[in-house]
């Protein structure tokens, strides 16, 4: 089973910027982004989160979010999407970065989770 990362942010540039950062340490990890509203404004969009799940080529997804309402959209999408998606309340940038680096070298999910627990901020 391949594992991928989904980034959910209120701002398009933040999402794309984090994607860029992760790619540096995880060139083979599938990463998709749902950032900003449908019309490019600040906020998150349920439809974009669903699309980021579908477009990600991995079978299992690990999702990170920035602020409160993105968590709600993410939770709703996790309930409605057929893919297995885990969401972590870890610090947004550090959590995603550590996960990406560890997925690149096929670290087991348990070891990743234990790192993410140390980064829990929400």
């Amino acid at each position: 089973m391949t594992k991928g990362i989904v980034i959910v942010s209120h701002v398009e540039e933040i999402g794309l910027g984090l994607h860029k950062l992760l790619q540096e340490v995880a060139k083979d990890v599938p990463i998709t982004v749902a950032a900003g509203t449908e019309d490019g404004g600040i906020g998150t969009s349920f439809d974009k989160v669903m699309a980021a799940f579908s477009e990600n080529t991995a079978d299992e997804l690990i999702a990170f979010y920035d602020l409160g309402s993105s968590k709600m959209n993410l939770e709703m999408a996790i309930e409605m999407h057929e893919k297995e998606v885990k969401m972590y309340d870890a610090s947004f940038i550090e959590g995603a970065y550590v996960t990406a680096a560890m997925l690149q070298v096929d670290t087991p999910i348990e070891a990743i989770e234990s790192e993410l627990n140390k980064l829990k901020v929400k």
Partner: protein
């Protein structure tokens, strides 16, 4: 009191109109204690909802709420999207088994609380939904001024959820914008003869 296809559709017609007419006011309420976009966000959501209702021609009460859920959850942007979206989705599910107004509104509140984890008294939309349910249970006759009183009851509360909670005591003295938009929803129900 029960939902029918007709009064549910009429409710949403009034709700769409009410949000449109009050979008500046809702955003104004959101400015001192939030990010000032509640009205514009809601207006974008109800526009999507209106388009979907026209395209899909729903045949049951449950269908109407489902279309409302999908329209609102994807297009609002802020926390209100998932909150209203989940409320409508749970109402859609409940309306498969019953057309009873109380049961359906209770399902909506349960959805809001599942998503947002707020309790009554936290200065959120939960306060209005909760007071409406209590009033229905007590067989009170609801009118616009009673709904206004429910919305205004959030003014003196201190916010414990959402962005306004970061303001602590400074959130006191402002009406909660989500409660105001929920008030508009219940007024729409009232106008449509469902409540």
């Amino acid at each position: 009191m029960t939902f029918t296809l007709e009064n549910t559709l009429t409710t949403f017609d009034y709700f769409i109109e009410a949000i449109e007419n009050n979008k500046d006011y809702l955003s104004e309420l959101d400015t001192p204690i939030g990010d000032g976009d509640h009205g514009y966000n809601m207006a974008r959501g109800v526009k999507a909802l209106q388009d979907k209702l026209e395209q899909e021609a729903p045949e049951t009460v449950s269908d109407v709420f489902k279309i409302a859920a999908l329209g609102l959850m994807g297009n609002i942007g802020g926390a209100s999207g998932p909150l209203y979206g989940t409320a409508m989705l749970e109402m859609s599910k409940a309306a498969k088994d019953t057309q009873e107004l109380l049961n359906i509104i209770e399902a909506g509140l349960a959805g809001i609380q599942k998503r947002g984890k707020a309790e009554a008294g936290d200065k959120t939309m939960v306060d209005v939904w909760d007071q409406i349910i209590t009033a229905i249970k007590n067989n009170e006759t609801l009118d616009e001024s009673k709904i206004d009183t429910m919305v205004e009851s959030t003014k003196e509360m201190k916010a414990k959820k959402g962005r306004a909670s970061y303001l602590g005591d400074r959130s006191i003295g402002h009406i909660d914008p989500g409660s105001m938009s929920s008030g508009l929803f219940f007024k729409s129900l009232l106008k449509a003869g469902a409540l």
